[in-house]
Symmetry: C2
Subunit: 445 residues, 2 copies
Amino acid sequence: SEWPAVDIPLDHHVFKVPKGYNAPQQVHITQGDYDGKAVIISWVTPDEPGSSQVHYGAVQGKYEFVAQGTYHNYTFYKYKSGFIHHCLVSDLEHDTKYYYKIESGESSREFWFVTPPHVHPDASYKFGIIGDMGQTFNSLSTLEHYMESGAQAVLFLGDLSYADRYQYNDVGVRWDSWGRFVERSTAYQPWLWSAGNHEVDYMPYMGEVTPFRNYLQRYTTPYLASKSSSPLWYAVRRASAHIIVLSSYSPFVKYTPQWHWLSEELTRVDREKTPWLIVLMHVPIYNSNEAHFMEGESMRAAFEEWFVQHKVDVIFAGHVHAYERSYRISNVRYNVSSGDRYPVPDKSAPVYITVGDGGNQEGLAGRFTEPQPDYSAFREASYGHSTLDIKNRTHAIYHWNRNDDGKKVATDEFVLHNQYWGKNIRRRKLKKHYIRSVVGGWIAT
Amino acid sequence: SEWPAVDIPLDHHVFKVPKGYNAPQQVHITQGDYDGKAVIISWVTPDEPGSSQVHYGAVQGKYEFVAQGTYHNYTFYKYKSGFIHHCLVSDLEHDTKYYYKIESGESSREFWFVTPPHVHPDASYKFGIIGDMGQTFNSLSTLEHYMESGAQAVLFLGDLSYADRYQYNDVGVRWDSWGRFVERSTAYQPWLWSAGNHEVDYMPYMGEVTPFRNYLQRYTTPYLASKSSSPLWYAVRRASAHIIVLSSYSPFVKYTPQWHWLSEELTRVDREKTPWLIVLMHVPIYNSNEAHFMEGESMRAAFEEWFVQHKVDVIFAGHVHAYERSYRISNVRYNVSSGDRYPVPDKSAPVYITVGDGGNQEGLAGRFTEPQPDYSAFREASYGHSTLDIKNRTHAIYHWNRNDDGKKVATDEFVLHNQYWGKNIRRRKLKKHYIRSVVGGWIAT
């Protein structure tokens, strides 16, 4: 059940344009604030601006509320984009299903989404993790598998459309097709975006040299809510998780805005409220595949110490078109003048997981360095996605699902113990029966 | 002869505003093209735009030519800049002294500069190297010492004014004072600029979060001439040197524009024409001072291999407020899974020289890590500047001058053998007597 690594032809039904003149397409939502009481709804109208409003309400067909968005368009080389709308819908209730309608002349379309629970240490929540997707039949298989997983929001690890594999006006065309391709999921649940190298779109031969132009026009992030100065790095809180999104291809060394922002954001993490500290980046810091080997060293040198110091639970990255999970290891004592060169087991270190196997046209990265280094716990070059099913403050079940199996088969699976609450001292603080009641409830579901 | 690390008061004569209404001030020039036949002349008029023209000619007082520049102004927080003029003067003759006049109502001012020789492997040329200057009395001592050195152009290693040590409107004011402070040299010879952390000016508390705003408005670079997409990284050829300027605080990892540009620029280096390959960056890759220790690791991981592969002659960096010179070493076999951790002697590697002791108000970085690592050849925490006196394709004399000595005393000095021409195979290609004639001529001068 593996397809050739080529993009699905543009006339395939997965890219079909919704019926009706100027009908809204490429509908996608993302979290719109810090704590999950807002969403940003985005879409494209091909022919004319039309309305930037979103009508919404908690009862299907009854749209009591309306939010006003904005639109803009842009050119990339000679490609002219449609009219791209972004609309912030805020002050929503937690744990509520909302229905929304986007009108464009006679072609209105309706969707829904569910807001996350209150930020709470025991709020259970299931995240999907996808990276390096593209738009091949393997990408489609990943998307379909993911939509069976029951996950409630996607942590997307960068490299969306692979439109940069095309030239001139086809670049914009393949950004549009990707938007329609993932709408089946992105219109109904938030995908939290991070940028990969295939979003840089640095094409001097076309006179396009400003990084991220297509990506930033189309995909928004709630960066101001976390006091970031750029949509490329930001943080949100969702249920019991604090999610920090970093940008591998923006400046990140000491004294840069991203560096300043991360050092402050880490102090804002309150593990009493959000026990699960998750970091996303495109380029993996630990990766034993030959592809992109050691490309994460630059960011490792800048940030690894902070990740260990703040006991990050897990770091997800993409970029390598395979799957790999590390043990909890660190190499923070490496010192160019003296000191250890190997990553060593470190209880305070995150687990590093590479999920870059979303299915894009570059195919799988089949060659791992041999022998498998000590820090690598599981690795396999197969297409798939992961899920992180957070049960409470102490336990989360992590799965990696391989597309090949044709059905939801957990190929790599383990229980993630929370780095903050998993500690014995805190556990003693938890009244004994409380654990039994929580774990009991979890086993029963 | 060391002064306290505090800025010179604004009313000191070193910052005096030139006489006359709207008189041009902060005059500074830089190379304006790839090969040294053009300069960009920049200045500020405080009260009104006035003319953006430069009148120039090869005979003093006789300005046969005129070049038309542009001007703009900007605000930073509530500070309003003067009118900043940039004027490209091109198609100049090599090896020629030009006189130029900037008119502003009745307050015109006159200066001169000398163009470099043709790009030629044996073209001798003396560069000055200064970093982390600021505007204290130690900075003044460095500037005065430098102006006695006979060097013909400055390779500036970043951290210019330290205006970011001030707040609100004083930031802009101290950028202006620095411009007047260095005019005594910058109006007469090109300073080739690179950006340091003190140019980032990331000040969220003032609502200023776009990096490099003050720096990029005031200081230009000929980046388009070397096919770069940003003024923050570029290259020029000057006499027998190919100078590559990198930006430590811009994205530089694989797939970023700076990474793409450097990989192409290195292929454009022609050591038959420009034997001396010099790289400038702000953050040192090898530095055994406690200050900023290992902050260069991120860029080392990205570029060290290329520097060795392309046999860069020397890499100058600033950032650490001291002086240090390394042996030719590399650590390119370091591998996070296995491999050597120490930098080892490597004939193909550059010499790494840190010249961050220009004198700024943060004072000297007096604490080196002990013991001195094997890769460190000379290190001292004293204010000063360096010069690189290129004699021909095979030899250059390098000096580090310590301010303390009150006069031009070479404290660290060595002969730099060209990495490309110094090799035996090429040396055998050089007719034997040719070396004797060149070296003989050099000893005689």
